[in-house]
Subunit: 392 residues, 2 copies
């Protein structure tokens, strides 16, 4: 019954990257996106070399670089004292070391670039397709949507995000609320008061809070994300993480950090979730990808990067194991297992490491003194801690 | 009315050192000790060079070294993994740098040596003198004891420990219970199972606990102190810190640490207290010294050392300001102010630093990873953190 298509549920960064990678191998791909159009919520996005190397392979890196910024440094400052603790050099040596640049860009620009590339490679892109059911049948999968449409394919990729419906068939786990909330905002660079470097990603951290700043769109826009531990969350306040809490949390920070607050969007807040790693992403002929598989806290800026890795890994695995246009169930199973066997150890490790990284950013008391001693003591070209993530 | 004597209330290490230092300047000194004999509770004691330099000046260092041990290293290990993180070199270079050795000895040996030296220098040593009242009068002080005895002098030194009665006239502060409790014990070295270095002070630390081990009496005795955060203290259990809690707390530690537990004394426990620093130690002609002035947590092993510094500082101040046998009130006031002006900033800093040090030893989670990274990264002859304490 399969018409040879690969069905991708969800047209976010993970789903579209998978669709593009699979389509570039000459396979037919259909993306089923619930929303009426392809769009990304949020603002800035960081792409480390482990992702940009793959975007290069997929032929979209140049467009990303053109739309974004190549920062020269990832800077870590103390949000209370304002002291500069250390930076990670992202310049020429870094790019050579990892075979790719560090790029920051607008999420919507990346999505647009992926949509265009998918179109170019013949991916069928469908909006308004809210998936109701995915069934594995002899010879393929059938995806039934809320609008009554039915789609059949060789296999389905569930890239339907943090609250993935497909994941619920594999696990009854729920998103874990970290009690931290993010406020984001972009501001035209010429409206920024105070000095801002156009060549730096700057992280300011303090007890239970941090601020990230970096330029977008060739430096015409400043992206800012303020994150803090909500006291109301711990107290069970239904309005936890509200703007008053934001102001109170950041009132203790130094002036350059507080200066960011007025330009954050106050009508939107993002509670920070992750989940426990799963040891299986596979049910029948359907497999998880991206946040549906491994939602993570953002402290390593690897959420999108790992989804991009997933997509390319999956496409490569299909290339290795699916040589028939109408592959048998054994081959599909082998291909999907090879994909998850490659991906689960890595994404599980990064999910866990991101939590530790967050704890380190937000630590208080003597822990903050120790962190600052470690950070100030390291060399700017000491890549030991990022080698396992950014390396090939 | 003064007969020219200096009255010292309390015959512990601080009081006796002060008595000895003052007597060596040719002054008449009388020590009023509540207990029926001079005795120290506890077992081992660490004397850093800031104290041993002064014991040398007082003529008692050789006796201390003979009774004790000169360790070559202060070692820090992870109590969970057993990993050796770093050590501080206490050898020849260390002794030259600070002008004195690092000595570990039995508290009772130090007390005995001080008692003998006081006797030699004509200090009047009185036991069974529980002080009821200290009054400043024109020309001197009068100390009235519970046994009806009255003692008059030029001034009084209140070296009456953590729960000092005199301190209550200056401040209504109370000892602060850290919620940690210590178990101590000594064991003949030939009964020790497992390898123990005779030339090391070893600290094992982990989340909410630590163990300290060092040899005493020329290596014939092993001193051990196990300290942990009591869960019962936080829960309001009146029997908090009991031996069952000790066993439970240390059950997570590595085998070399657990091996210490059977040889600890289980019928005695020491809750760990300190107090907030005071900005005045002086009332009339009475001044605080040692734990009465600045009780501190033990994490820098500076409690006795600072009391010894106090005693010598006070004797020096009296030498500078009291040239008359019957000095007037202005001179006494000047001498005592000079003493507290010298001592309060230093002991306050060490009280606060000891708390931070304890937090660092007992930290959990990512803080422990950071601490271990700092400790493993330092050079064994990096004395930056102890220079301000051990230095001249």
């Amino acid at each position: 019954m399969s018409d040879g298509e690969i069905l991708v549920i969800g047209g976010g960064i993970g789903g579209l990257t998978a669709a593009l990678a699979i389509a570039r191998s000459g396979r037919a791909v259909r993306v089923l996106e619930r929303a009426p159009e392809f769009a990304e919520i949020g603002a800035g996005l960081q792409l480390a070399p482990n992702a940009t190397r793959l975007l290069d392979r997929l032929g979209v890196l140049d467009a990303c670089v053109e739309a974004g910024v190549l920062p020269e440094r990832l800077v870590f400052n103390d949000a209370l004292t304002g002291a500069r603790l250390t930076h990670l050099d992202l310049g020429e040596d870094f790019r050579r070391r990892y075979g790719g640049p560090y790029v920051v860009m607008h999420r919507s620009d990346l999505l647009r670039i992926l949509v265009e590339a998918c179109r170019t490679h013949g991916v069928a892109l469908e909006n308004g397709r809210e998936v109701d059911e995915v069934t594995t049948e002899p010879g393929g999968v059938t995806v039934t949507c809320a609008d009554g449409s039915r789609h059949t394919g060789v296999l389905a990729v569930a890239a339907d995000g943090l609250r993935s419906g497909v994941r619920g068939r594999l696990s009854d786990d729920q998103p874990i609320d970290s009690g931290y909330v993010a406020y984001r905002g972009t501001i035209p660079m010429d409206e920024v008061t105070g000095p801002i470097s156009l060549s730096e990603v700057v992280v300011w951290f303090g007890p239970g809070l941090h601020l990230v700043q970096y330029p977008l769109r060739s430096g015409r826009l400043l992206n800012q994300v303020a994150v803090f531990r909500s006291p109301g969350f711990a107290a069970g306040d239904p309005d936890w993480g509200n703007p008053d809490e934001l102001d109170a949390a950041f009132s203790v920070t130094c002036e350059p950090v507080r200066r960011a607050l007025p330009s954050l969007w106050r009508n939107n807040r993002w509670p920070m979730y992750d989940r426990e790693p799963l040891d299986n992403w596979l049910t029948g002929r359907t497999v998880l990808l991206g946040d549906a598989a491994h939602p993570m806290l953002q402290y390593l800026a690897q959420g999108a990067c790992q989804a991009i890795e997933d997509g390319v890994s999956l496409a490569d695995s299909l290339d290795r194991h699916l040589t028939d246009a109408a592959p048998d169930a054994v081959s599909v199973d082998k291909a999907l297992h090879a994909y998850q066997d490659e991906r689960i150890p890595r994404t599980s490790h990064i999910q866990r490491t991101a939590r530790v990284w967050g704890d380190m950013w937000h630590i208080d008391g003597v822990g903050a003194l120790l962190r600052n001693e470690v950070f100030t003591g390291r060399a700017v070209d000491d890549y030991r801690h990022v080698d396992p993530i950014y390396g090939a």
